[in-house]
Each structure stands twice: as C-alpha cells, then as structure tokens.
C-alpha cells in the first residue's frame, strides 16, 4: 500500500556566519506497509520519525528516494494529481494546537477537507462533523469553540477527527494520543483498530508510548538517528529485541506492576547530533557491545529471521542476544 525506498531528508541549517550544514533527519530509510496493516514507528526523540511521516505522505519533498502509494511514485507528483490524492493520505500532527487554524472554529476545521475536496453536500456537512466528533468522543458543545478554548486532549481529538473526515486509505498518526488520559485513549485505540478491521485502513503509528505500540501494531520499526535499526513483528520486537538500542528501549516497557521502579538499561552518553552522525554504526559511541568493526563498517538491515531485520552485525551473527541485554541491565542495578 505504501512503500518508501532509500528515503533521505536533509535540512540545511546555518552553523556559522558563512557555513551551512545538513541535519540528516532521515538518512536512507526503506520499509513498506501492507493494506490494513499498522506499522509502529518508535525511537529516540529527534531521530526523524515525524520527518519520515511527513515525507512519506509527501507533505514535504524528500532530498532523495522514492515513496510509492499503490503504484504511484508520490515524489514525482506535483500540483493537481497530488492534490487529487490528498484526501486518501492523511496525517495527524504531533503538535495539536500548532496544527489547528487558530481563527477557525473547530467544527470548520473538521469540515474543511470535506468542503475542499467536495466529499459531502453542503447540507450534510454539519451532520458528518457531528458524527466525527462523536466517534472521537468529543461532545457537541465544543463544535463552535476555537482551538485555544479546548484542553490539550480535546485539541488532539479535533486533529484526529479532521484526518478521518475524508475516509483516508493511509494514515500517519504522529503521537495521536499523547495528550489523552488512558480511558479516552483506550476509546480511540479501539476506534483505530475497528477502522483497520472494517475498512482495511493502513496506518503508520508514531508513538513513544510502548504500551500502545505493543497493543495496536502488527509490526514495529525502530529508528535511531535517521535510520531504521530494527524491523519486525511487534511481539518479537518486544519480547526478543535484537538490536542493543531496541534492548535499551524495551527495558523501559512498564510491566504489570506500575510501581516496580526497576533500573533500566541506559545507554551511556548523549545522542550524537544528526549533523555529524558517527560514520559507521551510529550507536557505536554509546553501545555497551561495541567492537572495532562497529566503527568501521556501515550497518545495514539484515535478517535474523525472515520477517525480522536488524542493523547490527553482532546481533545478526548471533554474538549478542536478549539475555545479554538483561545481564547488562542487572549490572547497572547495584
């Protein structure tokens, strides 16, 4: 349904009076999502998830690489043909307040895509908007408010209602539930699951909330500094993580007992800058399992199982395993 190939997005930034350098926000990423599949996208803050989401829906042009939707290369489309596809490809933005027009009532914001793409007769629009409000659990009394008159979670659901309005086929949801309490979140997640089951909605779900990712997604892609470092079925990523970065990430998944304040597997040091990423394996400066080869050889995704890919030679060649991650974590506990 949606496939990105060797996608690259660099942003130029000024680093001195006469110098510009490139922020390598997304640096050679490939994956595909099947119809009706939900792909989770997780990773360190600033690793390029939102950028990848925006470029994959062609809201921004890539620096290089291709994005295929059905059989069309979106990166080659411009103007009318692209606008024509817009309603089918929807994004829910990470910053709800920033993505809503402050001068429009929220009902107008939700109606806008319907009006713009002539998807509903003028008489029906109000009813459709009410339906959408209801689906995302917003009460009617909020219809005529402006974005700043809503709570954070209410704003976020307006963004979701707007994206659902034109019946999209592909949705990229960027942290769509970060401002919701777990019970309202549960309703939305149930809704997204139903849309997937009933209408084969294809979703890319970006979130830092690993509990939601674990529940909702079929497969997970783990990003680190602009690259995908691991890709596989959700259960395998959670229970048998192979890449050391994934290992650290998963040690933070809250267990059944929330009050268990156990030590997590922390990678030492800071995330390097995407302006000058480490040349070979990007995790090398922080990885507890680093060897010389890691600093010399660029890491590419390799299968550890047919459906499970990892960009770490030591994991791919069976030198390190999930037990090693647990041992390293326990060593930190003392």
């Amino acid at each position: 349904m949606l496939a990105v190939e060797k996608l690259v997005k660099h942003y130029p930034i000024k680093t001195g009076a006469f110098r510009t350098e490139q922020v390598r926000a997304v640096d050679g990423v490939s994956f595909s999502v099947r119809r009706g599949e939900t792909l989770g996208l997780v990773g360190e803050s600033g690793c390029g998830k939102s950028t990848l989401g925006r470029v994959a829906l062609r809201l921004e042009p890539p620096t290089s690489g291709a994005v295929r939707y059905r059989d069309v290369d979106l990166t080659r489309l411009r103007g009318r043909p692209l606008r024509h596809l817009r309603p089918k490809l929807q994004m829910v933005f990470q910053d709800p307040l920033g993505s809503l027009n402050p001068r429009m009532k929220v009902s107008q914001t939700v109606a806008e895509p319907l009006v713009l793409h002539h998807l509903a007769a003028p008489r029906e629009i109000r009813t459709r908007v009410r339906e959408l409000f209801d689906r995302v659990g917003l009460s009617d009394e909020l219809l005529d408010r402006y974005p700043h008159e809503l709570s954070g979670g209410q704003q976020q659901r307006v963004g979701i209602a707007r994206a659902l309005a034109p019946h999209p086929e592909v949705m990229v949801l960027d942290e769509p539930t970060s401002a919701l309490d777990v019970s309202v979140q549960a309703k939305l997640i149930n809704l997204l699951r139903r849309l997937k089951e009933d209408f084969d909605l294809t979703q890319v779900f970006i979130s830092h909330d690993l509990s939601v990712i674990g529940y909702l997604t079929d497969r997970v892609a783990v990003m680190y500094l602009g690259e995908i470092v691991e890709l596989g079925p959700t259960a395998k990523i959670f229970l048998m993580p192979r890449h050391p970065y994934t290992g650290a990430l998963m040690s933070a998944v809250p267990g059944e007992d929330l009050l268990d304040r156990r030590t997590r597997l922390m990678l030492p040091g800071e995330v390097p800058s995407p302006i000058n990423p480490p040349p070979a394996c990007r995790l090398a400066p922080r990885c507890p399992f680093v060897k010389d080869r890691c600093r010399e050889e660029k890491q590419v995704l390799r299968p550890v199982e047919p459906d499970h890919l990892v960009a770490c030679w030591r994991a791919a060649e069976g030198e390190i395993s999930p037990e090693d991650f647990e041992r390293t974590r326990l060593a930190l506990e003392v």
Binding site: Y11, K14, T15, V23, V42, E44, S45, G46, C47, S50, Q94, D95, L97, G98, G137, S139, E141, H148, S151, G152, G153, Q154, E175, S178, A179, L180, D181, V182, S183, V184, Q185, A186, I189, N190, R193, H208, L210, S211, G214, Y215, L216, T234, A235, F238, A248, L249, A252, V253, P254, L258, L259, R261, R264, M266, L267, E270, V271, P272, S273, I275
Partner: protein, 329 residues
C-alpha cells in the same frame, strides 16, 4: 505547614452560553520535597488548576473562590506585580503542556534562554550564553552551541519539550508545576528527565506538582497522587494505595484501561462521555457512568473521606479494598 495549600479552589470560564464551572472546590497540599501527581480525564481541569495556582488563566477564565496559600500569602489575592516579581518563575516555575506555544516562534532558542537568564538572574550576556549551553546539556541536547541558533520549528517535538524543562529549572524553584512534561519524549529521554527531577528534588528539596496522563510516569516519580474528575478530587493518597487498591470507581476504571502487549480484543473503557461542565450531573458527577451508582449518588455530592488502606475518597459506594495487594504494598 505545607509548602502549598490549595483549598476549595473554584474556577469558571464565562462563555457565550453561560458559566462553565471547571474547578468545583479543589483542595490539595504539597510538602517541600514532595512529588504530587495530578491525574484524571482530559478536560477535567488539570491544566486549569495549574493556571489558577500561578494566576496565568486567560480570559474568560476567573478564579471565583478558594485560597492558594504559599508561604503565608494567598496567591489568589496577591498583587499581580508582587506575584510576577517574587514568585512566578522564581519560587514557582511552570512547564506548559504545549511547548511550542510557550516558545516564541520567531526568536532563536538561544535568545529566549539568555533573555530569561538575564532578566531573572541578572546575568551578563556572555555568562547567560555559557549558562544556556550548560542548561541544554543538562537536558541531554547534543550540539548545544549550534542548537542555540535554531528556531523552535527546527527542533523536534522532544527537543522543544526538553528546552522548556531546562528553562523552568534554570531558576531552581521551590515548586515546579509540570504539565505533561514528558509527553512527546521517548522512554529513554523520559527516564533521564525522571532521574534529573529526582536528583533536583533530593538536592534542593524542590517540590513537584506533576500533571500527567502517563500512569507509568506517575509511578516512577510521585509520592502521592490526586485523581481529578470533572473539576473535583475523586481520590487522593499515597501512590501505592491508589494504584494497588483504588477505592473510587473512576480510579479503578482508569487503571483498567491501560493498553498492554498481547491483550486481545477491545480495551476496557469507561462508558459514556466526559461530563458536560455547562450542565454537570447533580450529586456525584461520575454517577451517569459509574457501575456502582445508586440512587443517593444522583442526589448527594459525596465528601472526601479517609478510607483504607490510607487514602481519601469521595464516593458513597467505594470499590472493595484489595486485601492481598494492599498487604504486599
């Protein structure tokens, strides 16, 4: 005496359609060095509580009753100039829920940080720049020198968030009000922030009012938790008691709606919608959605009363105490 004591706080928004009673008698207290979590449904009034305490409410919102005692002074009645000069951003610091709103989009991050440092801490331009770099490092931002010249939209969501945290902590406040401080942060960065906040609390005795939806985060940081439902406290007490043996049916339902890996079928949710604050249900505001509701619930507002194993609960028909769990805690 508690560091901050909020009693019977009432805040309303005066809208075209009438008065929206968002806070209907909220009472809280925070001791020095204590972390109090404030959780609850979206729209229940958590952010409004924070804005009411610091008096940053925007029109048409107004505190219409109650007290906010800080160091023997009632912040509700303090002169605005005193509040601004002596308290806000010095003794009480706040992290806002929407980081981008709090950062000015047309000014570089560096200028915003140094401005605050120069005004609030009287630093020279050069010292302020050095301090700004140190602060960015303290919240794990790589390449702080060049990040100072970035505009807010050039940062990832998580970076903007961390800069807000850095800014709020730069004055070493006695109370930090943090409204969803780690949403949008990955779990690793989140954990670093948790460690940073714990360290500050231990070193400086800073108290924290932590507003969050993230129950796992609350479990990592809080000593006590208050659960807000439709502008009233439903349950408050030590986090172990609330999480292991919730007595209010809303707390119970909230804890049950956590998604989990491998869970089959729909997640449990609370039936019905968030209470309409323009026409709130009489009696207990949770009664239209409550599995334990009886006739009295629609008529009488339940008072907050002490209950085993050690929390205060506003409910006529509380959930039974979970013995085995309470004992192990």
């Amino acid at each position: 005496m508690a560091l901050l004591e909020v009693s019977d706080l009432r805040t309303s928004f005066f809208l075209r359609g009438g008065e929206l009673r968002v806070l209907d008698g909220v009472s809280l207290e925070i001791e020095a060095g204590e972390v109090l979590g404030l959780v609850g449904e979206t729209g229940s009034g958590k952010s409004v509580t924070a804005y009411s305490i610091t008096r940053l409410l925007k029109e048409p919102g107004r505190v219409v009753g109650g007290q906010v005692m800080w160091d023997g002074r009632d912040l509700v009645r303090l002169w605005e100039s005193e509040l601004e000069q002596e308290i806000r951003g010095k003794e009480i610091s706040m992290i806002f829920q929407s980081p981008r709103e709090a950062l000015n989009p047309v000014i570089t991050v560096g200028r915003q940080l140094t401005q605050v440092l120069r005004i609030r801490r009287g630093m020279s331009r050069r010292d302020a720049r050095a301090e700004a770099i140190r602060i960015l490092k303290s919240v794990y931002i790589s390449d702080p020198e060049s990040r100072l010249d970035s505009y807010p939209h050039e940062l990832s969501g998580g970076m903007a968030q961390r800069i807000m945290i850095a800014l709020a902590l730069s004055c070493e406040p006695r109370l930090l009000i943090a409204d969803e401080p780690t949403t949008g942060l990955d779990v690793t960065t989140q954990y670093q922030i948790v460690l940073l906040l714990r360290e500050l609390r231990d070193r400086t005795g800073m108290a924290i009012l932590l507003i969050t939806h993230d129950l796992a985060l609350a479990a990592q940081l809080c000593d006590r938790v208050a659960v807000l439902y439709a502008g009233r406290i439903a349950e408050v007490g030590p986090i172990r008691h609330l999480f292991r043996s919730p007595r209010h049916p809303y707390t119970d339902a909230l804890l049950a709606s956590r998604p989990r890996l491998g869970l089959q079928g729909d997640i449990l949710t609370i039936p019905g919608n968030v209470a309409n604050l323009m026409r709130p249900p009489g009696g207990c505001r949770f009664h239209p959605r409550c599995p334990n509701a009886t006739e009295v619930c629609a008529q009488l507002q339940p008072p907050l009363e002490p209950m085993d194993p050690g929390q205060r609960v506003a409910c006529h028909n509380p959930m039974p105490q979970r013995q085995e769990l309470a004992a192990s805690g």
